[in-house]
């Protein structure tokens, strides 16, 4: 098992290097002059030249990559041309906000998606099932940012139920930063009222992100459940007198969520990319919005850093999902334990 994780980590590192190479390559291949773009049209040719030398832009590609790699391994990802700060500082500031959003969205999608999937599958062809099936078609077909806009429109503007901008109301002072998670920090600072406010701000963006996953993963759980409900072992459990709730939520659920969990790793990738758009709609001061701004202003260091961060996160999440599956499915566990 440890060996398996080790192999996977090594593979991931290898792939990530390849990724950095790819992005770096694309960044440098681009026509145009990054130094000029950074300094703007008013800068003098001298200043641009100086920046160009600083950024090693006049050197061959391999050399540039080498310099970048060296500093990256030291923890220095360069300076953001957009914020004029080290990229690492920017990342530290903005990542927690997005992380909070993504985690909350994952939680919502798990709870809503799996419960709906189980109930729809167990009560097949009931009104609940038919309704959720129809809803899931719409859910899968609606892009996250469209959901975000629609939810914003209905709940924030028409119904005035939820706020529409940012993580906390404008006039409110945020709690001292401990984890970077607004809800957690508020609770830690002994301000449950702030935590509640933060939650209210979280709900719409998180939900917008979650909708497509609720639909997608719920569907998989549902069909998996339908398939398993007919299996002999479920009949055997019933015959041997297992309580109905235990039967459904223990003996039926566990084998049924395995296909769903398998898909969650990939879905997380889409969750991350959709965050880009949803953060824009809700003016969420997160990493994804930072990334979008970096892209729009051709902030090369930031773009490369962003892509790498996402790559690393994705690889980690895939590994975690794989490990979870190993624990859920004994046949895979035995296969990996040592063969």
């Amino acid at each position: 098992m440890i060996k398996y994780i080790g192999v996977r980590l090594a593979q991931s590192i290898f792939v990530l290097f390849g990724l950095s190479l790819l992005i770096f390559f694309i960044a440098r291949v681009v026509p145009g002059d990054p130094a000029r773009v950074a300094l703007g049209n008013l800068a003098t040719e001298e200043q641009v030249q100086k920046l160009r030398a600083e950024m090693h832009l006049d050197k061959p590609f391999a050399v540039q990559y080498y310099y970048w790699l060296k500093s990256m391994l030291r923890g220095d990802l360069g300076k953001s041309l957009y914020t004029q700060r080290p990229v690492t500082t920017d990342l530290k500031q903005y990542i927690p906000a997005t992380l909070e959003l993504i985690l909350f969205a994952t939680l919502i999608s798990l709870v809503f998606g799996q419960v709906t999937g189980v109930l729809a599958g167990y009560f097949r062809n009931s009104w609940f099932d038919n309704f959720s099936r129809l809803a899931s078609y719409l859910g899968v077909a609606t892009p996250s940012f469209v959901v975000a806009i629609l939810l914003l429109f209905i709940f924030s503007q028409l119904l005035k139920l939820t706020p529409s901008v940012g993580r906390l109301p404008l006039m409110v002072k945020p709690p001292p930063t401990v984890t970077g998670f607004m809800v957690l920090d508020s609770l830690l600072a002994g301000r449950p009222d702030l935590a509640l406010l933060a939650l209210k701000h979280l709900i719409l963006p998180a939900f917008s992100l979650a909708v497509i996953h609720i639909a997608q993963e719920g569907r998989i759980t549902r069909s998996s459940l339908i398939e398993n409900v007919q299996k002999d072992y479920i009949i055997a459990h019933e015959v041997h007198g297992i309580r109905p709730t235990k039967l459904v939520f223990k003996y039926l659920l566990k084998p049924s969520i395995i296909p769903t969990v398998t898909v969650m790793g990939l879905d997380f990738a889409f969750l991350m990319s959709n965050a880009f758009l949803v953060e824009l709609v809700f003016f969420w001061p997160g990493f994804a919005r930072y990334a979008v701004n970096a892209m729009l202003s051709k902030d090369l260091n930031a773009i490369v850093a962003v892509v790498l961060v996402i790559g690393v996160t994705f690889a980690l999440v895939n590994l975690v999902v794989d490990i979870i599956i190993t624990f859920l499915d004994p046949s895979i566990r035995i296969q990996r334990r040592g063969g």
Binding site: P143, I149, M295, L296
Partner: protein, 298 residues
Amino acid sequence: MVGEQRIGLWAVLARKRRGLAKGWYKYSRNYLSVLGLVVLILIGLTAGLAPYIAPYPEHAGAYTNFREAGLPPSKAHLFGTDRVGRDVFSRVIFGYRFSLLLGVVVLSLAVPSGVILGLLGGYYNGTWIEVLIMRITDVFLAVPPLVLAMSIAAMLTPNLINAMIAISLSWWPWYCRLVYGVTASLRNQFFVREAELTGASKLHILFKEILPNCFGPIMTKVTLDMGIAILMGASLSFIGLGAQPPTPDLGTMLADGAKRLPSEWWSTIFPALAIVAVILAFNLVGDGLRDVFAVEEV
């Protein structure tokens, strides 16, 4: 001799027709799939005949008429007008045009390249060719496709064509992997071995023996991917990395309108519904195709 050939051709055509008829029968069993197909055809026709159907085709470009700006839906303007006075309905129809065009172009680039690389990777399983191709694929797949597309589009000048290129570059790996999986598993099956032994050319083996087995999954994926490609295109233009104004693009329309919500909701909501409609249609058709190609369980 000629007579024989002609009969042979007829037989092949007849078989294809029967296959089509059987496929249609399976497909039409699900009313949702048929509905999706109808909607898709409608959208396609609308988009294709846009210059003739749209009530105000000139609004699809740089047109301003501030006297007519911000009008709610009416008989003259089915979907109302946007902030510079353009008819939203016409722009949506033209927007469909560009969206569908994007989808077609992206898939025309991504699918053949991905399929060919997948065939090669799977066929030369275990050699350096496979390692090279699949490792490169892994690298491209290390980040979500939208992120990759955004990064690539960010480096290039934002416009529709570059958006198409960016999305295509992010999308080919998925087809590569799909076809690789099928090819690698079929590679050592009898019929392939046989073909090799009888001296069939590699080209023949790849395209006549292995590829037909991938046909079903590829067709299904292509249909579903049209929806996803359109979604990605709209996402890119929503951010500002895709089609630029005044090109009528569903994503840019959404971005524009969303800033001004809740006022002039029609310039946001209708493009939003339009996007959902086209993606939904492709999803339904894709699902239907999946049913057609699914092996029936006795």
